[in-house]
């Protein structure tokens, strides 16, 4: 695999991942969001596998497999169950309407390019070209968490943030040490489970998962 091919593939992969993130901004339904997240996880796993194949490092293959297993399959199943449980009502009116949120998403990607300019100039790895897109996804997922009202969507935003960071790690450093990789997976999984428990609790006490109602503690 020649370095040029790898850089094109990595750019392609990260573009796919970023597009899935922007889809979250575009679509309203929860089911669509879950679909977007699943696609994103698969694309991320593919990119990781590609980089693993290019560097011949078995650890990356293991990571890709783990990614696919947990984020591609496990979490979407749980998410679907939660979606069924809380009814698939559409995100009625998020804080920001679709047009402006897409515009903001674009601006954020531009900001990401500005911010990661020094990174790209410093690194010699072929996969460095994908990094601005990964940073873009970081900002887009932050914007998703801010602008969406449903607790479930906020959890999805958090998971997307984790995906973005994982992508950044793979592209920038061809894989962080395995201990840390496993630890990160463990954290993300546990974090998701606890958030899921809380979403159920919110639904139980507030009869809806609209974070808007959580404004009792002020001052």
């Amino acid at each position: 695999m020649s370095p040029e091919l790898v850089s094109q593939l990595s750019v392609g992969g990260s573009t796919l991942v970023l597009l899935a993130g922007l889809a979250m901004l575009w679509r309203r339904g929860v089911r669509a969001h879950i679909g977007a997240f699943t696609a994103q996880s698969v694309a991320l796993a593919a990119t990781t596998a590609m980089v693993g194949w290019f560097t011949g490092d078995w650890q990356l293959w293991a990571v890709a497999a783990l990614l696919l297993l947990i984020k591609g399959v496990g979490i979407p199943i749980l998410l679907a169950r939660m979606a069924r449980r809380f009814g698939t009502e559409r995100e009625l009116e998020p804080y920001v309407n679709t047009a402006t949120s897409l515009l903001v998403g674009g601006l954020l990607v531009l900001l990401a390019y500005l911010v990661t300019a020094p990174l790209v100039s410093v690194s010699q790895l072929p996969t460095r070209t994908g990094m601005p897109l990964a940073m873009g996804l970081v900002f887009v997922s932050l914007f998703v968490i801010i602008s969406r009202k449903k607790a479930l969507t906020q959890v999805l935003g958090f998971l997307m943030l984790e995906n973005a960071v994982a992508l950044l790690a793979v592209l920038g450093t061809h894989g962080i040490p395995i201990i840390v990789e496993i630890g990160v997976f463990l954290d993300v999984a546990l974090g998701f489970i606890v958030m899921q428990v809380f979403v159920y609790q919110i639904h139980e006490t507030f009869e809806s998962i609209d974070v808007e109602q959580l404004n009792r503690l002020r001052e």
Partner: protein, 487 residues
């Protein structure tokens, strides 16, 4: 030789968690075991302090995974102390505690895990593992924030987990960028994420990348440390959590997050010089001091009052880090004092909440008459937090302001003193209203759970000892820390 203390330190919370899971909480043996394991981990931490003072830096693990230097030893001691206190004074099945056995079990399991994650975070040499441990602290503590499920505690826990996780993810971005900069220079190494390696190679790293990484690190760990403007989760979480947990969170979790910032500051200072990080630290520190000080003026609940005072003291410590060697000494001394005073205050406020039944300051009056010992401890803790003489915080506040003036930042210190005056006047006004005045009718007088006051009195005496004459070992430890972080 070196494995034993690590095992004692890290395994005992795990065993405590397992024990609490297995043994029914109603048994006397269960709570004794739980407390005992807490004490063992405290003894291990003190052993580490002794080792460090003798000049050792114990390490353990394959690729030097765990390493305890002066800074880690100090933090480990603080974490272990507060965890032992929580194990001793946490929710149990005593006559006047209204917790169900299931709640007690859940609390014991997750508070031990919480202690374990903090101890790992503090002793890990690997920066990645440190991040994982701090992320795990959020998860472990978030589970037991809503120990008694009410609308308020659910809301507080949701905000805590959400903001905490988002913040920490940004810190991971920073860690990755740091590692990225290292890889581009030296190529992939197994032990690359070790703090010692990063520090050694720091002068060679690229300044723009490291600055970018430090911004993410500061925002990320700043969220966990409760620095403004990422502090918003703290008052809700600390006032709604059970007082034992909020004692651990307010006392040490903020300190652990600050520990992470100190670690990265050392690396960044070596790479880029101290001007850039100091400017950021002063900015955030002053902002949190301002927001906390002004929020204290109109406060209706005493637990939220303590939470805002934590934000203010963390801001002060963060400010201290940026004022040269004496500043670092002052902020570390402040850290120790704050841990002792704040955990004591939250335990005392827990007892007040049990007795008066309402968290409102307005409804608590004549505290010295109703509960002389708890009232006295509450007053002593509050006066310690104000930095008044007999207690240690006066020395650290004095040293901090002195460092500020020595560093030539006169106007900054003037602003700090003014904000501290505003904060302290409002804290005193609230304290005055609670301690004195006529006791409300129908309140049962006299202390309850007599022996529970003993550890709190121990805390108070330690604060006085720190105030009258700072013991030699602590000064020695703090000097070592200044060498690490204070360049």
């Amino acid at each position: 030789m070196t494995a034993a203390p690590f095992l004692a330190l890290l395994l005992s919370p795990i065993l405590a968690a397992a024990g609490a899971l297995v043994l029914p909480p109603r048994w006397r043996a269960a709570s004794v075991l739980h407390a005992g394991l807490g004490l063992i981990s405290l003894l291990a931490a003190l052993r580490f302090v002794a080792l460090v003072l003798d000049g050792w830096t114990p390490t353990w693990g394959a690729t030097v995974l765990f390493r305890v230097d002066a800074l880690s030893a100090l933090l480990a001691a603080c974490v272990a102390f507060v965890a032992a206190l929580a194990a001793l004074l946490g929710p149990r099945l005593g006559p006047d505690d209204h917790y169900t056995p299931a709640q007690v079990r859940r609390f014991r399991v997750f508070s031990s895990l919480f202690a374990f994650t903090m101890l790992v975070a503090v002793t890990a040499n690997n920066v990645g593992v440190m991040w994982i441990a701090i992320e795990a602290t959020t998860i472990a503590s978030a589970v037991i924030v809503p120990l008694t499920v009410t609308k308020a505690s659910v809301e507080a826990s949701w905000k805590y987990i959400l903001i905490g996780s988002v913040g920490i993810a940004l810190a991971f971005v920073g860690t990755v960028l740091g590692y990225f900069d290292f890889v581009t220079l030296v190529g992939q190494r197994e032990y690359a994420l070790n703090w010692t390696v990063l520090l050694a190679n720091a002068p060679v790293l690229h300044p723009p990348v490291i600055q970018l990484a430090f911004v993410f690190i500061l925002i990320g760990y700043g969220t966990k440390a409760g620095l403004a403007p990422m502090h918003t989760w703290l008052p809700d979480a600390h006032s709604e959590a059970p007082s034992a947990l909020s004692a651990m969170m307010s006392g040490v979790l903020l300190a652990v997050a600050l520990y992470a910032i100190v670690r990265w500051k050392a690396v960044v200072t070596a790479a880029v010089g101290h001007q850039f990080p100091n400017r950021l630290l002063i900015g955030l520190g002053l902002l949190s001091l301002a927001i906390a000080a002004l929020s204290l003026v109109i406060q209706r609940q005493y637990k939220r009052l303590l939470a805002y005072s934590s934000i203010e003291h963390t801001g002060l410590m963060c400010l201290g880090l940026a004022l040269g060697p004496l500043g670092v000494f002052a902020s570390m001394l402040h850290l120790v004092n704050h841990t002792l005073a704040k955990s004591m205050m939250f335990f005392a406020s827990g007892r007040i909440l049990d007795r008066y039944g309402s968290p409102e300051i307005g409804r608590v009056s004549g505290l010295l008459r109703v509960m002389p010992w708890t009232g006295g401890l509450f007053a002593a803790g509050m006066i310690a937090l104000l930095g008044l003489p007999p207690f240690g915080m006066f020395l650290s506040k004095f040293a901090l302001v002195r460092a500020g003036f020595a560093d030539g930042k006169g106007w900054l210190m003037a602003a700090v003193l003014a904000l501290l005056a505003v904060a302290f006047v409002s804290l005193l006004a609230h304290l005055n209203r609670m301690l004195y005045g006529p006791a409300p009718a129908g309140i049962r007088r006299g202390e309850s759970g007599g022996w529970a006051v003993v550890p709190l009195v121990a805390c108070a005496t330690m604060l006085v000892v720190l105030g009258i004459a700072v013991p030699a070992p602590i000064t020695e430890l703090l000097d070592r820390i200044v060498e690490i972080a204070g360049r």
